[in-house]
Assembly symmetry: C2
Homo-oligomer: 217 residues x 2
């Protein structure tokens, strides 16, 4: 049975991993008979957002500790992720990707990626193993993959321009569809960059995981 690694960036759309996308990733992987293990970096979140009011809270939370909520405690430090043990990688979206795993939310085309994450993703890529990037996670692609790797964050022109400036080739994509770079084995789908409901997010993620399943079968 194939095993896939999932990397979370916290727990909650505005300061961490988008929860629906994270859960839908686990669900659709299992539906395709793919097992998974969860990881997150053991670092403080950039900040904590009150998801009711949108305001910043004066609190410190750890990305790994909060991501453990989504994983029901069954999660490990990203530092322990050995790509040799996995057939592929999935990175769900949420602002955590752009605030904790990188600084894309603040610096756009001038952003950097967390070293540990970049190294891990590049190892998967070197081993010719597919990576699925959901929602805003394709903003990482330019840092990791070959120049011109196909990527989508949906249709937002400014975000797309920043993704392209970082080295990927942005392709507009509807919420229920995916963009695949067959050479790099990179799959992306807009999810909540465009989704207006959980079913819409689910359709694109299901398609992404189905294509991942083809890649690793």
């Amino acid at each position: 049975m194939k095993q896939v690694a999932i990397i979370f960036s916290g727990c909650g759309v505005f300061d961490g991993a988008e929860i629906h996308e994270s859960v839908l990733t686990m669900l659709h992987l299992e539906s395709h008979g793919i097992t998974y293990k969860c990881f997150a970096p053991n670092i403080d979140q950039h900040h904590v957002i009150n998801h009711l009011t949108g305001e910043e809270q004066t609190q410190t939370r750890n990305v790994l500790t909060e991501a453990a909520r989504i994983a029901r405690g069954d999660i490990q430090d990203l530092a322990l992720l050995n790509p040799e043990e996995f057939a592929a990688l999935v990175i769900p979206g949420g602002f955590g990707v752009a605030k904790n795993l990188s600084d894309f939310a603040f610096k756009g085309a001038d952003s950097q990626v967390l070293d540990a994450l970049k190294t891990t993703c590049q190892q998967f890529n070197t081993q010719k193993k597919p990576i699925v990037y959901l929602c805003i996670a394709p903003a990482l692609i330019g840092h990791i993959h070959a120049q011109g790797t196909l990527a989508t964050i949906g249709t937002d022109p400014d975000t797309a321009a920043a993704v392209t400036a970082l080295g990927a080739e942005h392709v507009n994509c509807e919420v229920n569809d995916i963009v695949v770079d067959e050479q790099q084995k990179v799959i992306s789908t807009p999810a909540y960059m465009l989704a207006t409901s959980i079913s819409e997010a689910s359709t694109g993620i299901e398609k992404a995981i189905a294509h991942l399943h083809k890649f690793i079968s």
Copy 2:
């Protein structure tokens, strides 16, 4: 289109709402063409559990604020829930139900339910509207519904005995099945009381929502 209310008890299995069950509830409601609105009580959590270590954290978190993470900010104070606007109610599980919505985790057969929740559930019941209780949430049934209302928390003998002592009639149930009290329009399923994977939890929840759909169609 029928609209259903969902009541969350926080965000995270050990001190709040079980995240997978919460997301699967939203997904399966939408799959059946049922819209929903999310609610949670505006109270402090009983405590905060580090989901990585299982230890208690010295922090205060609010049930409504944390539940807003699952609802992507689209959630209201339970005090604003008007049962007249909804065809049914769903309460996902997680220790939050037994720690924040009631004290079942600490007092079992001697537990009490949060007044605001009890009143709301009883209003749905008086209006002959169905309520779905997932996972440990059926521990609330004895407080709310007619004596002897059928309920399941799976197969754990001690928990089942406490549910029965509170006034419900416990029926053992497998993870992929549901228990229905047709008279009271009460549906329960074990979910993560028994599930060892998200697919297992999904199967029972899907069946519960399908039966709910029949009740309100």
